[in-house]
């Protein structure tokens, strides 16, 4: 080893010396992100969660196909009445099924586990003993959580497309049985495709506020369970307040307020007002909560 004799010696001013000071700098954040993604990918829980998320819409599809008994328009989960006519509408309907409860639960579990899970496992201190700043670790964790959310949404949309087109109505594309919007007008297959893509994007963004919240809680506690349940409790609380008329004053600022506005993407013409408001609200939560998460995590004593 060449380091035995170092004639330059350390400098009291903290000057970097040669390779020692230089090494570990400018490490690509990408490498850190890839490590976090790989950790998420090799964890069985990740895939079990996504599998369960896909299972619910599939079960619903089977029931619909067997009984041919959809909720009447205006009742039951959004859109389910339409999918009997056209299975290609099912991805959007399936996302509507998991959006209010199951998707936030999954996101809370993964995001709540991000830092607190490492702390509980004792590995957090070893992650921080690498030549990596805490900020970068937090960013890598956030990217991993968002990747999980997007993967889950895409997986649900994908399975729903398969089950929808196989089990439910599969109208010939150009014919009169083509999909209709909520407003009752017809949809071309291209229209349907890009609107579904918009829904996938909007739902992923809607989950960002939840993810940021659970991540913040995850930096505050060493218990992944507390972080996940805390995030979930606040989401449930928000949903309760959204439905409460006397909470009208704060309603538009609640994180779940515009979640269901994805339906507006299936109106003709698309009703952008609430979608835009929803995006702005989520962005606000993400900025504030992530800022708080960063502030706590970079100044916290790691005693786990």
């Amino acid at each position: 080893m060449s380091h035995v004799a170092d004639p330059s010696g350390p400098s009291p001013e903290g000057a970097p010396r040669g390779s020692a000071g230089r090494r570990g700098l400018r490490l690509p954040l990408l490498a850190l992100i890839l490590v976090e993604l790989r950790k998420l990918a090799v964890r069985p829980r990740t895939w079990v969660t996504i599998g369960l998320l896909c299972l619910l819409p599939s079960v619903v599809a089977v029931f619909l196909a067997v009984t041919d008994l959809a909720p009447r328009p205006g009742q039951g989960p959004t859109f389910l009445s339409a999918v009997l006519g056209n299975g290609a509408l099912y991805p959007a309907a399936a996302l509507g099924l998991i959006l209010p409860v199951f998707l936030p639960v999954a996101v809370c579990v993964v995001a709540g586990d991000a830092i607190a899970g490492e702390a509980a496992n004792g590995t957090l201190r070893y992650l921080l003993l690498r030549p990596v700043s805490r900020t970068r670790l937090l960013v890598a964790k956030l990217v991993a959580v968002l990747a999980f959310t997007t993967t889950a949404v895409l997986a649900v949309a994908g399975t729903a497309y398969v089950t929808g087109t196989q089990l439910l109505g599969n109208a010939p594309t150009e014919l009169s049985l083509a999909a209709t919007t909520v407003s009752g007008t017809g949809l071309t297959p291209e229209d349907l495709t890009w609107r579904t893509v918009l829904v996938i994007g909007y739902m992923s963004v809607s989950m960002m506020g939840v993810a940021a919240l659970a991540l913040l809680l995850s930096t505050l506690t060493d218990s992944p369970l507390a972080a996940a349940l805390g995030g979930l409790a606040l989401i449930v609380g928000s949903s309760v307040l959204v439905g409460l008329d006397s909470a009208d004053a704060v309603r538009d600022l609640l994180p779940t307020r515009y979640w269901l506005s994805w339906v507006d993407l299936f109106r003709n013409p698309i009703l952008w007002t609430d979608v835009r408001a929803g995006l702005i609200v989520q962005l606000g939560y993400v900025v504030v909560l992530l800022g708080a998460a960063w502030a706590t995590f970079t100044t916290r004593d790691i005693t786990s």
Partner: protein
Amino acid sequence: MSADPVDPDDPVDLDDPLDLEEDERLDASRADERPGPPPGSAVALRGLTKRFGSSRGGVTAVDGLDLDVAEGERFGFLGPNGSGKTTTVRMMLGLVLPTSGRAWLLGERVPGRLPQVLADVGAVVESVAAYPHLSARTNLTLLDASAPGPAGQRGRRSRRARVDAALEAVGLDGVGRRRVGAFSLGMRQRLGLAATLVRRPRLLVLDEPTNGLDPQGIRAVTDLLLELNADGTTLFLSSHLLAEVEELCTRVGVMDRGSLAVVGDVADLRAPTGRLLLRVDAPGAAAGLLGTTSAAARLGGRLDVRVEGDRLVLTPQSASGSPRVELSAVVAALVGEGIAVLEAVPERSTLEDVVLARTRAVGER
């Protein structure tokens, strides 16, 4: 990238009058009487203090600690539970932020320049932790993959080679593909050591590295650490296991209630107690012989003799001006009377004696 002549982290020229931050820092260090780390410093702590909790109900875990460990040393950091050892190690490594005071690792200020300095530091803090559902190799690979390897060893193949070499160095090469969840305590301990070796550290900070190992394992790990130290790696061992420290360290510091009660070379701390220990074939006869006044005259001093089994413990009676009783004279006297001396040594205080004498356990006040 390596040809890049400008390092953005270079300190700004000290003569630059516009660099206020640098000037302020120099002023601050002048105000603080204590000098920074000497050249060749591995660990330097100046007035390091940590208070946990509020200022009223808080606990001072570490109180104004000063410590210097030079590069290439083998330093043992001792102290009872709750003496502030772990908090100090965590502050050194940037896990816990000091309330006041300053710290340097390998001459670099921490926690400010941690990302730069940690590439050269390997550490096990308290217990070893790993992802139980992953193999030993995957654990080490993931831990290493988040930062570029040493210059010229950045590729995936080089990383695999370094991981394999680290596993082999601690004797885990046969089980590298096994899930860590199925590892025994000793195997985990070895894995933790392997994790610190993937990057060939200049400073190793370890917590009881031989805890949980079988005798062969203790031997192997001790040899490995001594070998690394011979190559220039500084060892900083925080431990309760005094035998481990006596075997591995040349200098120790003993923590007691947040500050260092003792710092010194192991050889100095283990000073002779003045008592002599003998093992003889006829303890009774030997005791009778040595206790007499005539023997005292011949040996140059009175001896208090105690028989413990087949051993004799001789305590010279301190009469002012009397010369010291020589062990060789005692042995000669016994042999002259036909008593076989199987073993004869001057007693030395053990590290345990030093630690027990200078520290108090939690709760004792």
